[in-house]
Symmetry: C2
Subunit: 334 residues, 2 copies
């Protein structure tokens, strides 16, 4: 398969991106071509620094970068030669099947939606963010692509999320939940109540309303919500986990010698917990519903996260998630 | 001051409620009267079991209980003699100045709003949930009273939250944030953008848009959002903290003898972190905007949490939060 990497996006670009590319070339089987999109000199120098020369690499020059302060639309208007726009255009041109960027999420969503276009019948693409559930992965859709979503969009997120969980994550019959404020059927807002009745009328494995604790404790593969709620939930969960780890560190530092020694001895347990809660092991979140595979990475992606984002991209291509989504959309919206 | 306690509400009623009442009578200064509202036999038997006889106690009988499966409106129609309705009516009658219930949140909000009425100019009461921020307490308003809020409601939450943080929590000039999906001014939805421009036009100490991590790390005293978002955020943060603690426990159990021994030695640090993240130390969340003080407790309140909820109620009465809110509302909405 052929994948494009936005080398300039993310807090640690281009270094982490190139280190991640190196790992990906070593580990991902079936990777025929890796387009490295970015400032040509910077990419070339970075590759030399890493001693990385691989015939599967092709540098695709771009002269601009979308910064975090830029508006999403800038990637379409003022910065048409930005690395993310050029990388996505490789997919549009059919040179790559998928793209991975740990850069500006809004820009990735805007460029992918407008330049690649939406799969047939898809109203709005949605970001599926993987959460570490006890029973596997819980995909939160939408995690921020569509902050003012309508009922139909959420229904489509349930369908696309289920297809993704089945095709890529191998879940036989994905369990779908609707994020709400109370588990009882009638709880929620006008929006969630409409989505509830529409989902109940489908043959999806719809569990009903869910709340925070279900994300982590209940067998649940897809949770749908509008992009505002999803983004806020995702960031709040991440912030809570970070705060907890920080408090534990503080309490250990403030503790006696006994506490400090104990913590040192128990360190492997903390390392494992941190790993478990980290986005690093997933690498990214697929944007579902665009023509071509688009994986969005965390801004602070490590080389390992970059590699895993590229791996996620490879899996989505290999498992043909888009043909499966098109098939499902044709069935649900004939 | 005179306070009513809903003895029948909550997962551990009436036991924890009565044990909490005992602690409150021992510890809260200025408590002249504590109305214990619930099934008379059950309350009497419970008091005997605790050996609790205090002249400040008055049992107020009620024959019904709002269960978690009941609709909020049931407390107003089918179950008019429920403990929460009777307790709130004591405030309406002027016999108590405040009420605390760890029971059905929706019922408390509905009964308080309709039977006590709203303070002058308040459109919709909102729940202010305290979050453990590094620099003090961050009050998240609204945490679930008003899931389909309009811009004006959020502006009023900013005002009432600021008054509460100043009058009760002693914050000189409370910093207010608006929950959004990105820190930049223009980020968010039509709703948040309207709230943003209205808050900017006030003399409140408005910081702008905030995200998950600000809740815990940034000096911030009030964060406003609609009740759907607030409730989902609150429950998701709580769920994340719980999941983290569970994972740590699992990893320690799965670890070697060295890890287990270390964890045992470092235990005091964990206990402190758990305490810090727990609602128990706050006891409850005030419902801001109703005539009379209403504090809503967590369903699984411990006796300590019940005591602290009553303490929160006492403080809101003592610090005259409602007269202060009325004054502020008159100033902002002349």
């Amino acid at each position: 398969m052929k994948i494009a990497l936005d080398v300039m996006g993310g807090d640690h670009a281009p270094n982490h991106n190139l280190m991640g590319a190196k790992l990906a070339l070593e580990e991902i089987t079936g990777l025929e071509k890796l387009y490295l999109v970015g400032n040509e000199d910077i990419v070339r120098t970075g590759l030399q620094g890493l001693g990385l020369a691989d015939p599967r690499i092709e540098i695709v020059p771009s002269t601009q970068v979308i910064d975090m302060v830029d508006a999403s639309a800038d990637a379409l208007r003022k910065k048409k030669d930005s690395s993310i726009t050029v990388a996505i255009d490789l997919v549009k041109q059919g040179l790559a099947q998928g793209v991975f960027s740990p850069g500006h999420t809004g820009a990735s969503v805007a460029v992918a939606t407008l330049r690649l276009g939406r799969l047939h019948k898809v109203e709005r693409p949605g970001i599926a963010s993987p959460l570490p559930n006890e029973h596997g992965i819980c995909n939160l859709v939408d995690a921020g692509a569509n902050p003012e979503a309508k009922a139909l969009h959420l229904v489509q997120y349930a369908i696309m999320g289920s297809v993704y969980a089945h095709a890529v994550q191998g879940v036989e019959r994905p369990v779908v939940g609707l994020m709400s404020i109370g588990e009882e059927d009638e709880k929620g807002t006008d929006l969630t109540r409409e989505v509830f009745s529409r989902l109940r009328a489908t043959d999806l494995n719809f569990k009903g309303n869910v709340e925070g604790h279900h994300l982590f404790e209940t067998p649940l593969h897809v949770v749908v919500c509008d992009g505002f709620v999803g983004n806020v939930v995702l960031k709040s969960c991440e912030a809570t986990a970070k705060a907890m780890m920080k408090w534990i560190r503080h309490e250990i530092e403030a503790g006696g010698i006994r506490t400090k020694l104990g913590a040192l001895m128990a360190k492997p347990a903390f390392v494992n917990v941190k790993k478990r809660g980290s986005y690093e092991s997933y690498g990214g979140s697929p944007l579902l519903g665009t023509k071509g595979i688009v994986i969005i990475g965390h801004g602070s992606s490590s080389p390992e996260a970059i590699k895993n984002g590229l791996r996620m991209c490879a899996a989505a291509i290999q498992k043909e998630v888009n043909p499966h989504i098109e098939e499902a959309m044709a069935r649900y919206f004939p």
